[in-house]
């Protein structure tokens, strides 16, 4: 960011820079700064005294103590005997899980809806209009309760809907057959495989671009990469197997399960965010001058090609900065999870605060984590934004 420097006799330099940073009223600025410092010192001292009187030691030492409570779902193994730090880690992982999956799905749904709204089809456009208005004008918490209630109407485990004897749909969640690799946690081998597939996709796009049979060639490359992953794993001594869920005891066991709380939260967040993203996409597309459409049509491009090759790349300049705030909204809104029973960061921190009495520290952790997530998301998105932004000076 460029700082605005007043032209004057002092000219640019460290001194004038400092002066411009302090502003035209240095004395007042200094006094205000000291005042704010004093206020914080007073509040801090007061807080420390109060905590001392209640027998609480301010600090984060409690993080290494045994947590003694259970968490419903976690990306890595956690049990009541583990530390508060691990419990909070599980909460953070759950927050990130729902945020990442939510942002991806909301983008896909939002872009589709935004384009549908602009399609010539009046029925489709007005349906999307109604959808957007409904979602943007009702509270998210209410929507979450609705999704939670809908998911709870599914049958209990004993009467679960079964497909092909291996997929179960019940109010305890969706159970799918899962791949498991002996001795490796799912998130390690899954991310390795995902990386391999992604790399193959990018490579095949470069290699086969413009050549005939683009799709079959790319698909073959991806399948090859998957086979390579499997062979590498087995040759390293890890046995891969398929686990099929089955009814047992109070519940359905085994396989990959998606809990109703996760599903309700994810659907709620995605549907809610897709409404605002569709508006962003719509405004982005409308910002592209109609001359661009006409020119593309004159070149003989098909509508889908016009959208993909001409309009969307230009619309992205408008869309991207707005998408950043949509993603951040979705991430922060995930904290409403506590109301419907998904163990996200806020839920775990809440319990931690109540059992340790370290309320202040818990709030600091919540704030720090959301701040880090927000800064990371906006840093990545700004990087992307720099790529799509119109380079005014350089090329033209």
């Amino acid at each position: 960011m460029k700082r605005h420097i007043q032209p004057g006799p002092s000219g640019p330099g460290p001194v004038s820079r400092l002066r411009s940073w302090i502003g035209p009223l240095p004395l007042q600025q200094g006094l205000l700064f000291v005042g704010v410092l004093l206020l914080f010192a007073f509040l801090g001292q007061n807080t420390a005294d109060s905590m001392h009187r209640m027998g609480l030691t301010p600090g984060f030492a409690f993080l290494s103590h045994q947590a003694n409570f259970e968490i419903g779902e976690s990306l890595f193994s956690y049990s009541a005997g583990d530390s508060y730090a691990r419990a909070l880690g599980a909460g953070i992982a759950n927050t990130i899980k729902v945020a990442v999956v939510g942002c991806l799905l909301a983008t896909v749904l939002g872009v589709a809806l935004g384009i549908a709204r602009l399609s010539g089809n009046l029925l489709l456009a007005s349906l999307v209009h109604g959808y957007v208005e409904l979602l943007r004008n009702t509270p998210l918490l209410l929507q979450l309760f609705l999704w939670s209630a809908i998911i709870h109407t599914l049958p209990p485990p004993r009467g679960a809907y079964t497909f092909l004897g291996s997929v179960y749909l019940s109010n305890r969640g969706v159970y799918l057959p899962s791949l498991s690799v002996e001795g490796l946690p799912a998130f390690i081998w899954l991310s390795v495989v995902a990386l391999a597939v992604l790399a193959t996709l990018v490579l095949s796009r470069r290699l086969f671009a413009g050549s005939a049979l683009y799709l079959p060639k790319s698909a073959g490359a991806v399948l090859g990469a998957l086979a390579l992953c499997y062979l590498t794993l087995t040759s390293l001594g890890f046995a891969a197997s398929v686990e099929i869920p089955a009814k047992g005891g109070f519940n359905i066991r085994g396989g990959l399960s998606l809990t109703p709380e996760f599903a309700a939260l994810l659907i709620g967040l995605v549907v809610n965010a897709s409404a605002s993203i569709s508006e962003i996409v719509r405004s982005g597309i409308q910002s592209v001058k109609s001359g661009q459409w006409e020119a593309a049509r004159a070149l003989g491009l098909k509508p889908a090609q016009i959208l993909r090759l001409v309009v969307l790349p230009q619309a992205l300049r408008v869309i991207t900065p707005l998408m950043i705030s949509s993603f951040l909204d979705l991430t922060k809104n995930s904290s409403l999870a506590v109301a419907i029973g998904y163990p996200d960061l806020v839920s775990v921190a809440n319990t931690t605060a109540n059992t340790t009495g370290q309320v202040l520290e818990a709030i600091i952790i919540i704030a720090a984590v959301y701040l880090s997530i927000s800064l990371a998301v906006s840093a990545v998105m700004n990087l992307y934004n720099r790529r799509v932004v119109l380079r005014a000076e350089g090329k033209r």
Binding site: E70, I71, A80, H152
Partner: protein
């Protein structure tokens, strides 16, 4: 009933803690006898209560009813021989202790759990336990479960921020069984989870579960297991340092317990006036020597039983078998019947 709402929002809690501290600093410790003097001058006892039907709730005419409310009326009888010279005010779990400390109430009958930190750090004294509560499990009848251990592998709903989260984890670790918690903050969602079959059981203080059970769509499909996973002794709380007021509270509660032990009820109390048993004569004030010795109306126990009944009657009328809460007496029976209620002798 301390807790579930005790922990709602972090900010509320932090604020309440600060308020409690401030109140603790401002309120100078009460001098012996000061509370009774104030009550006599004011002509009414100020009682802080909560809101759980059966334990404390205003009826359709706005008159407070319930288990704890009856003990408030009993204390008014001891002090004024008038069950109406008492004023009940609803106070939230976060606000009630600071409010008592700052003198807004003379006594809390809002189901406060007696704990050591409340006695030492926060400066409260507790009367006799009037209700032995504990964390319970509410399950579907058709699961065929009779005790907590049989819930191995079950999914259990926990209301977030409660000590219940810790107790249930401890319980399953102790028994070597596994469970999956679904931790929900919102009370409505908490109930819906059981109603819809999302969870096999709910865990929470038993009194609270009994009240919540009545809000389920088919209460009779659910049963509160008799087992208790924790101790929650609910006792009257007063400011520390006023011995006279504490003794009035103590012996009012003991009078209801002693009456039940003697078999004296609201109905038959007058027939006992002719009893030849010297202990009963002293208790009912037929023999006035005891009353003269302690400076209370010799007939205060008689008046209490005549107006509100003995402990068992108070229990059955408000939360017992015939009521919507359908509570078992459990530990809340006289020691002679295998319970924990025990009154020191009236002599």
């Amino acid at each position: 009933m301390q807790r579930n709402s005790n922990h709602r929002k972090l900010f509320t809690k932090a604020f309440a803690a600060t308020a409690a501290l401030a109140a603790g600093l401002i309120a100078t410790s009460a001098l012996a006898g000061e509370t009774l003097d104030k009550i006599k001058a004011r002509g009414v006892i100020k009682v802080g209560v909560g809101t759980t039907p059966g334990f404390f709730s205003p009826d359709s005419s706005g008159r407070w009813q319930g288990f704890f409310v009856d003990f408030g009326r009993a204390i008014a009888i001891t002090v004024f021989n008038d069950a109406e010279k008492v004023e009940f005010t609803n106070s939230s779990p976060q606000q009630r202790l600071p409010a008592l400390q700052s003198g807004e109430f003379d006594i809390l009958l809002s189901g406060v759990t007696q704990t050591v930190s409340r006695a030492f750090k926060l400066g409260f004294h507790f009367g006799p336990v009037v209700f032995y509560d504990g964390q319970g499990l509410l399950v579907r009848k058709d699961l065929g479960v009779s005790k907590g251990e049989e819930l191995d592998g079950a999914t259990i709903g926990v209301q977030s921020g409660t000590t219940g989260e810790l107790n249930i984890a401890d319980f399953f670790r102790k028994t070597g069984k596994a469970f999956t918690p679904v931790t929900i903050e919102e009370t409505g969602e908490f109930l819906k989870a059981l109603d819809s079959g999302r969870v096999d059981a709910l865990t929470q203080d038993a009194t609270d579960l009994a009240a919540k059970r009545t809000q389920l769509s088919k209460p009779d499909d659910y049963v509160l297991l008799p087992e208790r996973l924790s101790k929650e002794p609910l006792a009257p709380a007063i400011r520390a340092g006023d011995d006279q007021w504490l003794e009035i509270v103590n012996w009012t509660v003991y009078a209801t317990i002693q009456a039940e032990e003697f078999g004296i009820t609201k109905e038959n109390v007058d027939t006992f006036l002719k009893s030849e048993d010297p202990a009963i004569k002293r208790f009912l004030g037929v023999d006035p020597s005891l009353g003269e010795a302690i400076g209370l109306d010799p007939k205060f126990a008689y008046n209490i039983v005549k107006a509100v009944g003995n402990y068992g009657e108070i229990f059955e009328r408000n939360v017992g078998k015939g009521t919507a809460l359908n509570f078992e007496r459990g530990y809340n029976q006289p020691w002679t019947a295998g319970g924990l209620l025990y009154s020191p002798p009236f002599r």
